[in-house]
């Protein structure tokens, strides 16, 4: 007979995560578990099944950029709280918490870099900062990145990962759509290309603005790329969803992506495309 078990949970200062919530380093597809350093060395891709874990902005910049070439710009730009927005918690508090937890000032990191010898401007989103949502600060940083690319006459490489516009900034977050669109148009007027990498998830306001305007656009395997996500489509229309609804693979089939490129091959792919635009 087994010994009676004593429930010690009440003594935990920090209760363990609920059983149905997987550890972030456990592959949601095949269940393989990795240490941080293992995942980091594998570019946050599951070695067993190829699942692409979310990749932090700085890790991605380290992966794309030649060593020591990245010079961050607009690092001081922070979100404001123009509506004094308060839902279940104040927006200002959510912002402070996001900054503390992510070590980032906003959901996008921008700056100058060199990729395999070619100068570029980088704009890389980070989903861990408030779901990669786009408020005024994200819009401004992206917009300045376009200007910086124009000033130096270099292409822009953008990586998107976002749940959409940041509701806490109300209508101003919607205005970041035309704002970033106009910024890309100014870049295009200077005859400079934008190469876009859509990571999981690229949705709503970001997909409906600058993300979709890349001259060459690639998706990461398995990334959700949709204006409206599957849950909301299901709830509002009661339609039966195809198995790969909204995934990069479906987007490729319907003509919305130029290619699906696994993370380990992206640097080489971007380099090849950049050479053609030189």
């Amino acid at each position: 007979m087994s010994e009676p078990r004593i429930d010690v949970q009440v003594e935990h200062r920090h209760a363990p995560p609920p059983a149905n919530e997987k550890h972030p380093n456990t592959c949601p597809k095949c269940g393989s578990h990795y240490r941080d350093d293992e995942l980091s060395a594998a570019l946050w891709v599951c070695g067993h099944c190829g699942h692409h874990f979310p990749m932090r902005a700085r890790a991605r910049i380290d992966w794309y950029a030649d060593e020591g070439t990245f010079v961050e710009e607009s690092a001081a730009v922070r979100s404001d709280d123009p509506l004094d927005f308060f839902d279940l918690r104040p927006y200002a508090e959510r912002l402070a918490e996001a900054e503390l937890n992510t070590g980032l000032g906003e959901a996008i990191v921008t700056g100058q870099a060199v990729i395999d010898g070619q100068a570029v401007e980088l704009a890389v989103m980070d989903f861990t900062f408030m779901g990669g949502s786009m408020g005024s600060a994200v819009g401004e940083k992206f917009s300045r990145a376009c200007d910086s690319a124009v000033e130096r006459g270099v292409p822009l490489v953008s990586v998107t990962s976002s749940g959409g516009a940041r509701m806490q900034e109300g209508i101003l977050s919607l205005m970041q759509l035309p704002k970033t669109v106009c910024a890309v148009e100014d870049l295009h007027d200077a005859r400079l290309p934008m190469i876009t990498v859509m990571a999981h998830p690229t949705t709503a306001g970001v997909l409906a603005s600058f993300a979709s305007l890349g001259d060459v656009t690639i998706g990461e395997p398995g990334a959700l790329i949709a204006f409206t996500g599957p849950r909301v489509v299901q709830q509002t229309t009661r339609e039966k969803l195809p198995e790969d609804f909204g995934l990069a693979e479906q987007n490729l089939r319907f003509g919305h992506l130029d290619a699906i490129v696994p993370r380990s091959e992206q640097r080489e792919y971007i380099t090849r495309v950049l050479r053609l635009f030189r």
Binding site: E169, L174, L177, K179, T228, F245
Partner: protein
């Protein structure tokens, strides 16, 4: 001057006046101005009830829709159908006609009046095909130098399987891009619901106006409540928090002017609402007509690139 005309005149002057004293929040950066703005908001803030009344009036089933205005203010109207690729989207109408004597191109969302029409027009929620059709009319406007008028009235772009497969996000992005390239005068007016990406897709205009009871927002109050409050029933609270009403949009520098409505709302008197809208559109057109096209485009892009409040 008839009593009607007098009313139109007075209300029009009022709407012009209401543009002046409000601070353009989005263009203010300094801390002093910020405090002043907050103070002003605290003292002059529209109450939550007033905001919710705007939401209700903006969605009123008898509110005039795009084609109601077209019938009253556009002459020689010719509706143009189809995106030349896949379909004709009934949720977004496009066409050519004359406004105050000059040819204009017009694009506008169209909701339905009865059950059948509502279904046919998807409650004013356009598919990508609607936005491709809009881009088609924008190209005609550019080619022949016609001013472009947009009438915005949608809960949002259609959230369905086919809409996603046909590229809803990309269609909205490309419609905005097309608008940002135009060298003809462009005016948009939110005449009901300005719902998110589906609305801004046709509202990247030199002048963006809003009727006094219209709303313009990043998400529906119900959607916002469902996500942030985890309860769609808290829509009233959500609306009070993100403030989709015309005065707040003006205050934040998102729109350029407010168009008055007849007392009690546009649904009370379609003809009077149309006269007020026509006067505002014509005035904006006259302001823009002498500006060279390249300059219009430069200013339009600068305006939208200046939007936002950050530290």
């Amino acid at each position: 001057m008839s009593e009607r005309d007098q009313e139109v005149n007075l209300r029009h002057r009022l709407s012009g006046l209401s543009r002046l004293p409000l601070l353009r929040g989005a263009r203010v950066a300094g801390e002093a101005e910020r405090l002043e703005r907050q103070l002003e908001r605290l003292t002059a803030d529209a109450s939550d009830e007033v905001i919710w009344r705007s939401v209700e009036l903006a969605r009123h089933p008898e509110r005039p829709y795009t084609l109601d205005y077209v019938a009253r203010i556009v002459t020689d109207w010719v509706e143009l159908h189809g995106d030349r690729g896949r379909a004709d989207d009934g949720a977004l109408v496009t066409g050519l006609g004359k406004l105050d004597g000059r040819t204009i191109a017009l694009v506008g969302h169209q909701k339905g009046r009865d059950v059948k029409e509502r279904l046919d027009r998807q409650f004013g929620m356009a598919y990508p095909e609607g936005y491709y059709k809009a881009v088609r009319i924008m190209e005609i406007a550019e080619r022949f130098g016609f001013p472009l008028i947009s009438l915005v009235d949608t809960p949002g772009a259609y959230p369905g399987v086919a809409a996603e497969q046909h590229g809803q996000g990309g269609a909205i992005a490309r419609a905005q891009a097309a608008m940002s390239r135009l060298t003809v005068p462009t005016i948009a007016c939110i005449i009901g619901e300005g719902g998110s990406g589906g609305a801004v897709a046709i509202a990247v205009s030199d002048r963006v106006l809003m009727q006094e009871n219209a709303i313009y927002s990043v998400i529906t109050p119900e959607g916002c409540a469902a996500i942030l409050w985890r309860d769609a029933g808290e829509a009233k609270k959500a609306a009070a928090a993100f403030k989709p009403d015309a005065l707040h949009c003006l205050d934040l520098g998102v729109i350029d002017g407010v168009v008055a409505e007849p007392d009690g709302g546009a649904q009370r008197n379609h003809d009077a609402a149309a006269r007020l809208l026509q006067a505002a559109l014509v005035e904006s057109l006259e302001e823009l007509e002498d500006t060279p096209g390249e300059e219009l485009r430069r200013r339009r892009r600068a305006k939208f690139r200046g939007m936002g409040v950050f530290a």
